[in-house]
């Protein structure tokens, strides 16, 4: 059992929750977690402690941030209508002192304590309900993913991985469907273009570059661009350059990534 004082797994709980275990040690620990409820509980307690620790210095949240968060969620769900946010009053009532000031008010203090515990329970239930409500919306997101997956595994799709011409090693992939004249673009580990610049996709048709979409990557260097329309003619290759915001009609900078479409 993991509650034995000298259990080596218990000695690793702190390193595990801090993300410091690696390799075989990590695999052994996680395997043990699946069969040892006491160890799992200890991990859960340590994670809760770290959460308390991490959240113990709240700061003022700028008013625009909530709008960004909610808008982002809407984009993920691809909801057609603008989001209407229902105002929710933040719960910030301070917890009263644990020590009753007047001994004669012991009963009142006890009642207050019960009320505080109930409020904490209500808070936790609200948060859990909120998380579970999010879960229900995930079904819609999954449906979107199924649709995306269907487009990717269409027999007519061919994958073109664009190789970097520089030292960096981002990943740029173009999923071409020439029969449907559409493409999907995925980017990973690509630093965002600087202010005033964007990345632009090009298709090479009859030896000439044809301008396509412009895009930017997020803070993690990722982007997903769907519904890219292919130009008329047979696409022989794809390329990416960095262009001024708004894009260009012809490349103005060296090619950053390029990949040829396999001949039929």
């Amino acid at each position: 059992m993991s509650n034995l004082p000298n259990d080596p797994m218990v000695e690793l709980v702190e390193e595990y929750v801090l993300g410091m275990l690696e390799g075989a040690e990590l695999a052994t620990f996680e395997a043990r977690l699946t069969t040892d409820p006491a160890l799992a509980r200890r991990v859960q307690e340590s994670r809760a402690t770290l959460a308390d620790f991490a959240l113990s210095t709240p700061v003022a949240v700028p008013s625009h941030l909530k709008e960004r968060v909610m808008a982002h969620a809407v984009r993920i769900a691809e909801a057609p209508a603008p989001l209407v946010v229902t105002p929710v009053t933040p719960i910030r009532a301070p917890r009263p002192s644990r020590t009753p000031i007047w001994l004669g008010l012991g009963l009142a203090a006890s009642l207050a304590f019960v009320a505080i515990q109930s409020r904490d329970l209500v808070r936790e239930r609200e948060a859990t309900a909120a998380a579970q409500a999010l879960a229900t919306r995930t079904a819609a997101t999954l449906a979107e993913r199924d649709s995306l997956l269907a487009r990717l595994i269409d027999p007519g799709v061919e994958l073109v991985t664009l190789a970097s011409t520089g030292a960096a090693k981002p990943t740029v992939r173009v999923y071409l469907n020439q029969s449907r004249k559409s493409a999907l673009l995925t980017i990973a580990s690509l630093d965002a273009a600087p202010a005033g610049k964007v990345y632009q996709l090009w298709f090479i048709v009859d030896g000439a570059p044809v301008p396509s979409v412009t895009f930017q990557t997020d803070a993690l260097g990722r982007a997903l661009i769907e519904g890219v329309v292919l130009p008329a003619g047979a696409v022989a290759a794809s390329a990416v350059t960095m262009e001024p915001t708004g894009g260009s009609t012809a490349p103005t900078t060296p090619i950053l990534f390029v990949g040829a479409v396999k001949a039929e």
Binding site: Q44, F53, A54, L55, T57, V59, V69, Q132
Partner: protein, 181 residues
Amino acid sequence: MTTGDASAMSTLYDRYAPGLLGMALRITREHADAEEVVVDTFAQAWREAARFETGRGSVAAWLVTIARSRALDLIRARSRRGKLADAAEAETSAPAAMGSGFASPMAGVLATERSRKIQDALLVLPDAQRIAIELAYFDGLSQSEIAERLNEPLGTVKTRLRLGLRKMRDLVEALGPGGNT
């Protein structure tokens, strides 16, 4: 999207955004990056809500885990882009102590009674243990990197992390059930 779903996200945001932003700011040391972390955290929570299991941990721990991972990824990417000099400059003006709420003078105003108690409790931790935990948690350093940074043997760092976190757990548990978790 129904109004109820927006309310669910709104409730989570109202409750956790100030704490998450404070944590992200502590890690990234830049407001714009910290805000990006918060946006990404709630976006990921939205996408992965179906995988959240109440039996395996609290909502707070789930969100914090996501946010920390995002923030550390971001500073590692920034480091790769050679912006370490900026971070080092910011660090010189940031107090090392977690409980000092470096991010904003508003921190003291926004702190809940519980978070104040947690901060007070953390002051009981020996500095060596607290600093080791902060370097591991907020700077994402490995044990070897912490040992090198503090010029201490690796075994000493391991012991400090283990004892410090256990003591922290005891202190937080002594506060009773909380609003965060």
